[in-house]
């Protein structure tokens, strides 16, 4: 339009404007969140950048497989943190609670349960995990009660929790390292046994593909039925091919990471893929469940309504205190899941377990588009945010950046990402 209609604009500028317009209408045709697109773009830059910087090790199947496992614990907690922040609260205690719950699960396996049922009993991992989940829920419930019913600000309650639960993590074993874990429990953490192998990974990928296609199909049919605007058909096809391609491509690439020769020899030798690691499967499950809770259940709707206008939620007849308390119980359970994954992966519990994890979890949620003012945030965004943070950290470790400098970089990226988002949002549309 501007090409023909506005003579004062120099041809080059009008060309750029037209291009920008075309890009935007493309994005609209796909109806993809532009913010999500931005994060994927940032991730691509980080990955390619580190790949060259590390001389070709970052994008190897082995490194990406490790990255997927390392991302899991932070991402699992970030899904819950989204709901906490959306309801205008914060949880600073997740790292310490992870330490305390992880240590409790380790103590159960090494010190308490063996007296009753002996080492490596088949039920050991179930009892330890269940106890951990209950403990996490109780700690979350205590925080939630103090915040919602007593009225202490969440910042203070969880700042107290940050100190208390770190101390409890130390006190349970007087600062000793508790290891190793039950052999079945270890599977929760990935490793050479804690994965589902190549074939099952392909099956998971195929199921995910089928799920995406079904969602797109049902969505289109519903929109037609209710006379809503449809995506152009070509965009629908392109979207299906693209998302299935990404899923299957990721599975295929990760499947190129093979078991070490010694382990492979025990299973008949040859190239045996690791396949998706258990922590990654747990993360996928958690993401689906929490997304469902946030978008399809009353509880999720209430969390967002409270974040948007607490007074309106109260006047609408919502039991806002109970909703807040439930959100902290959920957070506690997710921290316990992360604690199980983390202790299983390290095959040990130390009193410093999860130290400063709260910062990475909050950063993941915020980079993923959760607003600290409340009312806004997505679960999938937070998981991508966790992947961005972990990619940075993992890349810097590969390059050999020293730990304090890693913190400098992570901090700068966090502030830069939010600043960029704020500026883009302020720009008139």
């Amino acid at each position: 339009m501007s090409v023909t209609g506005s003579p004062p604009i120099p041809p080059a500028a009008s060309k750029i404007a037209a291009q920008r317009l075309r890009l935007r209408s493309m994005a609209r045709a796909f109806e993809i969140d532009t913010r999500l697109l931005g994060m994927v773009g940032a991730l691509a830059i980080i990955w390619v950048g580190f790949h060259f910087w590390t001389g070709g090790t970052f994008l190897t199947p082995r490194n990406l497989w490790n990255l997927s496992v390392q991302t899991a614990t932070v991402a699992i907690m970030a899904t819950g943190m989204v709901l906490i922040i959306v309801s205008r609260n914060i949880d600073l205690s997740v790292g310490s609670v992870l330490g305390a719950v992880g240590m409790a699960m380790a103590m159960l396996q090494r010190e308490i349960l063996p007296d009753w049922i002996g080492y490596d009993h088949w039920a050991m991992w179930i009892i330890a995990l269940a106890a951990g989940l209950v403990l996490g829920a109780l700690i979350g419930g205590l925080h939630g009660f103090l915040i919602a019913y007593v009225g202490v600000p969440s910042f203070i309650v969880t700042l107290g929790g940050l100190l208390v639960w770190r101390g409890v993590a130390w006190w349970q074993a007087s600062g000793q390292t508790i290891a190793p874990m039950d052999s079945t429990f270890q599977l929760l953490g990935g490793g050479s046994r804690g994965n589902i192998g190549g074939l099952w990974s392909w099956i998971v990928g195929a199921v995910a593909c089928a799920g995406i296609l079904a969602l797109l199909f049902v969505g289109r049919r519903q929109r037609r039925k209710f006379g809503l605007r449809l995506r152009p058909f070509w965009a629908e096809i392109a979207l299906s091919v693209l998302s299935c391609g990404v899923v299957l491509g990721a599975v295929g690439y990760l499947n190129l990471y093979y078991l070490p020769e010694r382990v492979a020899a025990e299973r008949g030798g040859g190239d045996i893929p690791f396949g998706l690691a258990n922590p990654v499967l747990i993360l996928i499950g958690v993401t689906l469940v929490i997304t469902f809770i946030a978008t399809r259940l009353r509880f999720g709707r209430y969390v967002f309504a409270i974040g948007g206008n607490p007074e309106a939620a109260e006047l609408g007849g919502i039991k806002t205190r109970w909703v807040i308390m439930k959100s902290f119980i959920l957070m506690g359970i997710l921290v316990a899941i992360a604690a199980a994954v983390q202790t299983a992966r390290l095959n040990a519990a130390v009193s410093g377990l999860g130290q400063s994890a709260e910062l990475y979890v909050i950063a993941a949620a915020v980079i993923g588009g959760t607003s600290l003012a409340g009312g806004v945030g997505t679960i999938s965004g937070a998981v991508l945010g966790a992947l961005v943070m972990q990619s940075l950290q993992s890349g810097m470790v590969l390059v050999g950046v020293e730990a304090p400098i890693q913190d400098v970089a992570a901090g700068i990226v966090l502030v830069f990402a939010v600043a960029l988002d704020t500026i883009l949002k302020r720009r008139p549309k």
Partner: protein, 265 residues
């Protein structure tokens, strides 16, 4: 005189007796009584800080009364939360509208009373359809229901707040400054709606600064001053000046002198 007309109408829909609310040492509402009959609009007027909103909040459940009694259809009612009020079919349109800006119109309409599917999940489609139906009656031009309320105009927001009250079949409707944020056309629309709801037998409390609007709509007018009820008058029996006299100097019609009334202008 008002007593006889009331007696002939039987049991009041709402009868609030001797309501008291104090904030700290301040008596925001100090022994006020007011009643409402089916198909009637009672205007509740008074200056800023007269206690109108606080009094009515004890009926909508947003605020607990320190003492006093509320009778709904002649039966003693206990209203401590907004949920309690909704059980008695009392719906409130707050001055602030009480909308969550980050979610869409249907979600706001059904906030706290969501339609659920068989599987206990949110039935957003059913809620959207119901919202479109109500909106077709209230504000047919308002089509983009699925955007967050944040991006709606003042009139559209107002329709969402009103739609919420209308959809749930209120028998008692409380409207706190319903037209304060609206232009003339939208105000006229709200006035039409009030008359329509009144014809359906709904009792309406109308809280307003706008004495002209109240005179157009109300059957009776209750005036508050500094937390006390100055009195309740039939609109047909008084002039605007007399009501102004009640609002400003707290004197009932006939008791204020000519000079006092003249000073009001």
């Amino acid at each position: 005189m008002t007593m006889t007309t009331q007696a002939s109408r039987g049991v009041p829909l709402v009868d609030m007796r001797d309501i008291r609310v104090a904030f700290g040492g301040v008596h925001a509402v100090d022994g006020c009584s007011v009643d409402l009959y089916p198909g009637e609009v009672v205007g509740l007027v008074g200056g800023n800080g007269a206690g109108k909103t606080t009094l009515i909040k004890t009926l909508s459940g947003a605020h607990k009364a320190d003492s006093g009694e509320i009778f709904i259809n002649g039966e003693k009612a206990t209203i401590e939360t907004p949920r309690d009020a909704k059980k008695y079919a009392i719906e409130t349109i707050y001055q602030t509208l009480a909308l969550a800006e980050n979610i869409d119109a249907p979600s706001n309409m059904f906030l706290g009373r969501e339609v659920l599917s068989r599987w206990k999940t949110l039935d957003d489609r059913a809620m959207e359809q119901a919202a479109r139906q109500v909106m077709g009656r209230l504000n047919p031009q308002f089509q983009n229901l699925l955007t967050p309320v944040r991006s709606l105009s003042g009139g559209q927001r107002q329709s969402v707040a009103i739609a919420r009250a209308v959809h749930f079949n209120a028998r008692i409707l409380i409207m706190d400054e319903p037209t304060a944020a609206l232009g003339p056309a939208e105000t006229a629309q709200v006035h039409d709606l009030i008359n329509q709801l009144k014809a359906e037998g709904i009792g309406i409390f109308l809280i307003s600064h706008d004495i002209h609007g109240v005179f157009d709509l109300a059957d009776r007018i209750s005036v508050m001053l500094q937390g006390k009820m100055v009195g309740t008058v039939n609109r047909a029996d008084v002039t605007k000046d007399e009501v102004l006299g009640m609002i400003i100097i707290g004197k009932l019609p006939g008791t204020a002198t000519k000079t006092e009334l003249a000073e009001l202008h």
